[in-house]
Amino acid sequence: MKRKLALAMVLAMTASMAQPVLAADSKTTLDVIISQYGTQTQAWWSQFEKDFEAENPDVDLNIEIVSWNDLYTKVNTLVANNNAPDILNIDVLADYVADDLLMPATEYASEDLQSKFFPAFWDASTIDDTVYALPILASCRALFYNKDILDEAGASVPTTWAEIQETAQKIKDKFGDDVYPWGIDMTTDEGQAAFSYYTWNNGGGFVDENGDWALNSEKNVEALNFAVGLVNDGYTNSDPANETRYDLQDMFGASKVAMMIGPNNIPTYLSDGGYDINYDVTTIPANEGCESVAMGVCDRLEVFKDDSAEDQDARTAAITKFFDFFYDDERYADYMVYEGFLPTTQTAADLLAKDDDTFASWIDILQSCNFYPATKTEWADVKQGVIEVEQNALLGDDVQTLLDDLQADIAG
């Protein structure tokens, strides 16, 4: 008897390993992956899910919040297993378009919604004249500086590269090793941002006027040499290859770093972290004779094709409802304030500018920002490539040779 019972249990265990077959449901289910922008992202989206489902009983939302640390790993695994989400919030785009995985935005974004976006953001996801994503939010980078430290050192706010060195030297003279005058991040996390800050503000950049890769331009070499020079002269944090922007933001909050280039949500970060310092924000210093260029970062909402969906029209309709609901001016503006980012729709921007002047000025800066060339298929390689160039340059290698090699590697 015991034997039979045990055998039955073994068979039951084996059977339980088989995938359960789910009963068919008349509701349309949408799997949505949202990236985590702050500690409270989950709470906002949980409420969103409830509100949305109450208003749209025919759609079942399945929202998952994923941290940026795990996002690429997770999405890559899902895509490789043909299990991509319906809606994805991420920054990259070109790799999915190259594999024909994304739906064109005009197929699901209502005309009313399309007209709301700032044209620059609507166009930012265009590949071969087709728009493949909706801009979820934007942020803008500028120079943050600690007013008290600069005042005490008798230094002025730098507007040019020469002035950065001058101000940094004054701070170094006054505070010695206690304060790092200039924060710089050349880590695997976001070293491509440093490349942008310095090359764009020297008239260079990732691409030339035709949109072709121009990584080893004279301007870029000069810019990187300047940035690495700041490190070698002892004006920066001691470990730029390992100290991320978040480490710098913490050091800035603790008055350990006097100046750093960072995103517009630093005030939110500092107040959430309980930091209390006297700081201000200004444009990123440029080399003599060059115009200051701010850096914009734009994250996206993308819709994956799903050939296995039984009712394509119902799926597309549900997606349209999702976006109309999310980009509703009040709700969308609320999310932007909640996470400390800038809106990508004119209507939400107008709404926010009414109550808060700083929003209005950031939105103005945003119009003139440069963005990463993320719609080019080689972007992932370029991004990691420039980070390796920076880190090798920090170790003493020649910037010109490094950039020449990278350019040859990317452009062939």
Partner: protein
């Protein structure tokens, strides 16, 4: 002769079925997938586009980074395994003696091994941090240094710290493997040796070492595999930076797959690592077991 019932013939296989299924799903299938991916052209988004032979292997082996990373991996594995085996062995000898609070000390030794590697690595990263680190704060408080010391001025220094953390978390495992071997040695061997006039070192090399050899073999083989494949320590402390100077094969392939979108090449690195490990572990097992038989 009694004829076997048909049920009796299949019964053992039925009992084995769950284990075989689990092994197929969780061990054999992933290994097969890695080999398949390593010989496939994989798009950046992660889709397999077709068979490409050994292209991924050629691309990986041609790159200059791979040599650096392989060199790092060998230094990392050899240093961590050898030094922790020596220290673990010594610690086991100490803990095998009878002294007060022996149980408490043995429990404390397990701590580094029982704590999550990410937490360990995170804590050590904090300890050696130049600006906020506990080590600098401590040394400054007791007056040994006047200003913070940069404990990680070069990539080599970072790598040395990572090796130190690797040793710190590996020693307990060796200690307990050896300790279990030591406890099984009958005391009469030592008594007989003492009567014959053997000194401490003779007893150590002629009695203790040969008798704990099988425990040492197990701990060394397992450690070679664990340490070679260890990801959390290096990833938490440096992410393999700057410019792959502290990368090992595992962190390098992770970057290839998830930062550069080159899953095919990442799988190729994984296969190379797998083969190296299989080779090293088999050689070590064969050599040490053969000696044991002799």
């Amino acid at each position: 002769m009694k004829k076997k019932k048909p049920f009796a013939a299949v019964e053992p296989y039925l009992w084995l079925l769950p284990s075989i299924l689990l092994m197929t799903v969780f061990i054999l299938f992933p290994i097969f997938e890695v080999f398949r991916t390593s010989m496939s052209e994989v798009s950046k988004a992660g889709l397999i586009k077709g068979f490409c032979g050994l292209d991924n292997f050629t691309k990986v082996l041609r790159g200059s980074t791979f040599k650096l990373v392989l060199h790092n991996t060998i230094v990392w594995t050899v240093a961590v395994v050898v030094i922790s085996t020596v220290f673990g062995f010594i610690l086991a000898l100490v803990l095998n003696n009878k002294f007060r609070c022996r149980k408490a000390v043995r429990a404390i030794v397990v701590f580094p091994w029982a704590t999550s590697l990410i937490i360990q690595a995170g804590v050590w990263k904090f300890i050696i941090d130049k600006d906020y680190g506990a080590l600098n704060t401590l040394l400054m408080k007791i007056g040994l240094i006047s200003s913070p010391v940069n404990w990680t001025p070069t990539p080599q220094a970072y790598f040395a710290w990572e090796i130190f953390v690797g040793i710190f978390v590996t020693v307990p495992f060796v200690t307990f493997c050896v300790l279990s071997g030591l406890q099984s040695i009958d005391n009469s061997y030592y008594e007989a040796a003492t009567v014959d006039g053997a000194n401490y070192w003779q007893k150590l090399f002629k009695i203790t070492l040969p008798l704990v050899k099988s425990s040492l073999t197990v701990s060394t083989v397992l450690n070679i595999i664990y340490v070679f494949n260890s990801f959390p320590i290096i990833w938490t402390i440096t992410k393999g930076d700057p410019a792959s100077r502290t990368d090992t094969l595992v962190t390098y392939l992770y970057k290839l797959a998830f930062y550069k979108g080159k899953s095919g090449e990442a799988a190729a690195v994984s296969v190379i690592g797998f083969l190296i490990l299989c080779l090293c572990a088999s050689i070590y097992m064969v050599v040490s077991l053969r000696k044991e038989e002799e």
